[in-house]
Amino acid sequence: MKRMTIRLTVNAEAREWSIAPGDLLLDVLRREGYFGVKRGCEKGECGACTVLVDGKPINSCLMFAAQADGRDVLTIEGVAQGDHLDPLQEAFLDHGAVQCGYCTPGMILNAKALLARNPNPTEDEVRDAMSGNYCRCTGYVKPVEAVLAAVKAARRRP
């Protein structure tokens, strides 16, 4: 089978991967050990496979790995700095926003992208941004609370 090489940045590290042209980004990321990228529907409906590509949330099940050539990809594994969790991750833990945790990476990445473009979102804006992440455990109450709490905490920081 025909192979091709892509060069990209994943979680601030340069990567060079040999892929087949039809490989999906979701499959390649998981094959390369980024297990935080979850498979939920493979149709772009559930958001469990969300990653940020050049800062923008995308469903990695709908993107060819080849399209990530030359791009900057952030997965959930790259959100914390070593043992230092991102404020969103801290807020998810403090507010009981994690139950099974399967949709959590997608939710946190979507929230991260939202806060990057809108540091002061309203609850409606948070719900809007997270409406692409199905969660069957939480009823979304605590995840939304967690994102709003992270926003508030960021405002308090100098």
């Binding site: 493979e42 559930c46 594994e77 959100v79 945790g101 069957r136 109450v141």
Partner: protein, 766 residues
């Protein structure tokens, strides 16, 4: 009782690995040489396999195993993950020469890549003798209906000739006498839909042979021990040759209380002698996994002119689909957990559970109660109206209360006679009062109809559930002390995301007087943890938690003995708190847990360790009262829930933050059940909406304002007073919404889900 760890909003013990995306789930491993398994699903609702030829599939490069019914042992069993002996019929086979629903297993392959596996199943040549199918549950028992289980070797089927998987009839008193004494009697028919669990992680199982040749099955299961026992029977291996591992699970909701892929991945791994993984696609998850039993319920209730309910009767027809997994037990619950909500002297429950050539129903959060409460709470509302009583007051007057004995449960247990339920804790009345205040019941109930096409109304529902299956569910735990004063806790419980590992750790820490970080928990591994029935029937906190508490008490006794020697006192003069053991007397001497551990391990040469088992002979009910405010658009029939209040009595909330999360998640599923979710089949039994887009769960944007109230009580049978919480809140949304719709527009909705087009038709007829 003052507690230090129990009752606190502590972070989930497995939280960090989940928010950082570390490999924790079934699929998050790579095994060298792993093959991809794929099941060939039946395209027909009912057919016999006349001829099956696997030669072309086997010849495909990269294919390592192809299995049909000819290649595997024929062992009748149930996929229901229940305690042995399972009450569900043994009507299922690893692979069979007959298929009974669209999606039933025809054959299975294992190949080097997913693409090859997908191609290989298409290369299996199958010639079907298509049989007439029955999809309508009302036709299933009719004379001349096709017999779905005509095989002679299935057992425990109630009446195979008439497609009746199970039948239940129980009566207390004499309902006919009761109804004769009633001034008001109402009887109505209700229909409920086929809801799917939709865990975001579909079912997945990976099987391989370890270096000792034992079969290892890593699986997204709620019931590792039951799965091990079932696989041993089906694959004809000794239990000791199977090792089931339950990693983190991406949601279960009852759907993973089912041995669905473990057996077939195990069979493929044994055939190929290589690791094999099968993961359902989302589409497969919808129709090849399980769903909630659709029911047709006739509910009849009668009350005196003073508003006292004398008799209640529920008659149910339910379908279990093609196999009888959880058939009698789910439907038994529809009666036994629902009717005793109100203190009628006379109660009667009758139920037929029939086979149809439809996807298989099974365990699903609520376990028969959402259907039953929809019917009962709707009829309660109609009775209140006839009596000209406030619906809350009417319910309050008749509801079960502290000290009551529920006699129906004594007659109707887990597929056999049960045990009577005694109400030893009851926060129902606090739920009513706080819930009514939160929704603004009195004011909104009396509010005049608004002008225009948007009409508002409020409705209520009272519900209850159980906490473990009385006399059946049991669990065990084991603890050992480390030299740094920490403890390893091993429990067979299965955390499926609801937070069991955290709650069990909190119970252990509380009992031992240590901080939560001193407990290192291992669960859900049949090689390393002691037995537990698994995560179902709202049992984990009360039953597994009871085992953890007992085990921790045994270990604490040993800790105190060592400490007593070190402090030259007696154990009864000592308490464990703050990671140390201190004297109670004014001398205020103490030793740290670390010092005690070092003393016992390196000086006394004794491992501090201990375990215990636990079960209850009663199943204390958690209570919940749900209030809903809705807005009905009379021009479109669309129902918008404006505010939903769920007030729940879970006993003690071991971790209130997690308990609230259980309520909120259950309500979200309950909202979907009420308004949007239903797996639809076409006239040939094929799924019409087996994807998220067309199935329609609630998203973050669809959710109404949601108020969660915990009305805590102290349950004598539970560890630190805990009962349960995960199931009961799912029962209330549908009836509360239906009652609110009536309040808003005067239409009684008796079918779930409540579809705008149907409500609009009813509004137009008005």
């Amino acid at each position: 009782m003052t507690t230090h760890v129990v009752g606190k909003n502590l972070r989930k013990v497995d939280g960090v690995k989940l928010v950082t995306g570390r490999p924790a789930f079934t699929d998050d491993i790579q095994l060298s040489g792993m093959l991809y398994g794929k099941i060939l699903p039946s395209p027909h609702a009912h057919a016999r396999i006349a001829r099956i030829d696997t030669r072309r599939a086997k010849a495909l490069a990269g294919v390592h195993a192809v299995l049909t019914y000819k290649d595997v042992p024929r062992v009748p069993h149930t996929t229901a993950g229940q305690a042995w002996p399972e009450p569900s019929p043994y009507d299922t086979y690893l692979l069979d020469n007959k298929v009974r629903f669209v999606g039933d297993r025809v054959a299975a392959v294992a190949a080097e890549t997913r693409a090859i596996a997908e191609k290989a199943i298409q290369l299996i040549d199958v010639e079907y003798d298509v049989l007439p199918a029955v999809l309508d549950m009302e036709q299933a028992m009719a004379p001349g209906a096709p017999v779905i289980h005509d095989e002679p070797d299935s057992t425990k089927i109630y009446d195979r000739e008439r497609n009746i998987a199970g039948y239940i009839l129980r009566e207390i008193g004499n309902v006919e006498d009761g109804f004769r004494e009633c001034k008001y009697v109402i009887e109505r028919e209700f229909r409920t839909g086929r809801q799917q669990h939709c865990p975001i992680e579909p079912h997945i199982s990976i099987a391989w042979l370890d270096p000792d040749g034992r079969l290892v099955i890593r699986s997204s299961t709620q019931v590792p021990y039951h799965a091990r026992r079932q696989c041993a029977m089906i694959l004809q291996l000794p239990v000791s040759r199977i090792h089931v591992i339950k990693p983190r699970i991406g949601g279960g909701f009852g759907g993973k209380q089912e041995m669905l892929l473990e057996d077939i991945t195990g069979a493929l791994a044994l055939a190929a002698r290589r690791p094999v993984k099968i993961e359902y696609t989302r589409e497969e998850e919808f129709y090849m996994a399980r769903s909630r039993h659709p029911q047709i319920l006739r509910m009849k209730m009668g009350a005196t002119s003073e508003g006292v309910i004398l008799a209640s009767q529920m008659t149910v027809l339910a379908t279990t689909g093609a196999y009888g997994s959880h058939s009698t037990t789910v439907q038994g619950n529809t009666g036994s957990k629902v009717l005793p909500m109100y203190r009628a002297e006379h109660m009667r429950f009758e139920c037929h559970v029939v086979y149809t050539n439809a996807p298989v129903a099974g365990a699903f959060r609520g376990y028969g109660c959402p259907q039953g409460f929809f019917a009962q709470e709707s009829v309660m509302d109609e009775l209140a109206e006839q009596l000209k009583m406030d619906p809350v007051d009417f319910r309050r007057r008749n509801a079960i209360r502290l000290g009551d004995i529920d006699r129906l449960s004594a007659q109707l247990g887990e597929g056999r006679e049960g045990l009577p339920r005694v109400i030893r804790s009851c926060g129902l009345y606090e739920c009513i009062d706080r819930g009514a205040e939160a929704i603004g019941w009195d004011k909104k109930r009396r509010a005049r109809s608004r002008p225009g096409h948007l009409k508002r109304g409020v409705g209520v529902a009272f519900t209850m559930q159980g906490s473990g299956i009385a006399g059946v569910d049991w669990a065990s735990a084991f603890l050992k002390m480390n030299e740094d004063g920490s403890f390893f806790l091993q429990s067979g419980a299965s955390d499926v995301g609801a937070g069991a590992d955290t709650v069990l750790s909190q119970i252990a820490a509380e009992t031992l007087g240590v901080t939560l970080d001193k407990i290192v928990i291992t669960t859900g591994d049949t090689d390393t943890t002691p037995f537990d029935v698994g995560a179902y029937a709202s049992s984990t906190t009360i039953i597994s938690g009871g085992a953890v508490r007992k085990s921790a008490e045994r270990v604490r006794d040993q800790v105190l003995e060592v400490a007593a020697r070190m402090l030259d006192t007696t154990p009864d003069n000592l308490i464990c708190a703050d990671n140390r053991v201190s004297t109670v007397c004014p001398c205020s001497k103490s030793v740290t847990m670390t010092e005690i551990a070092l003393q016992s391990m390196y000086k006394d040469k004794m491992q501090i360790m201990g375990g215990d088992s636990h079960f209850n002979t009663d199943s204390p009910p958690p209570f919940s009262v749900t209030f809903a405010e809705v807005e009905v658009d009379t021009e479109t029939g669309k129902v918008r829930v404006v505010h939903l209040v769920s007030a729940v009595d879970p006993g003690t909330a071991i971790n209130p933050m997690q308990a609230e999360g259980q309520v909120q998640g259950a309500v979200a599923q309950g909202l979907g059940y009420a308004l949007t979710e239903e797996l639809l089949l076409d006239e040939l039994g094929r799924p019409r909406n087996a994807n998220f887009l067309d199935y329609k769960m609630f998203t973050a944007k669809d959710m109404p304002k949601l108020t969660t109230i915990l009305a805590e009580t102290d349950e004598p049978l539970g560890p630190y007073g805990a009962k349960s919480i995960s199931e009961v809140p799912i029962n209330g949304p549908a009836p509360a919404i239906a009652n609110a719709i009536y309040h808003a527009v005067g239409i009684r909705v008796r079918k779930l889900p409540i579809r705008p087009e149907e409500l609009l038709c009813a509004l137009r007829k008005e």
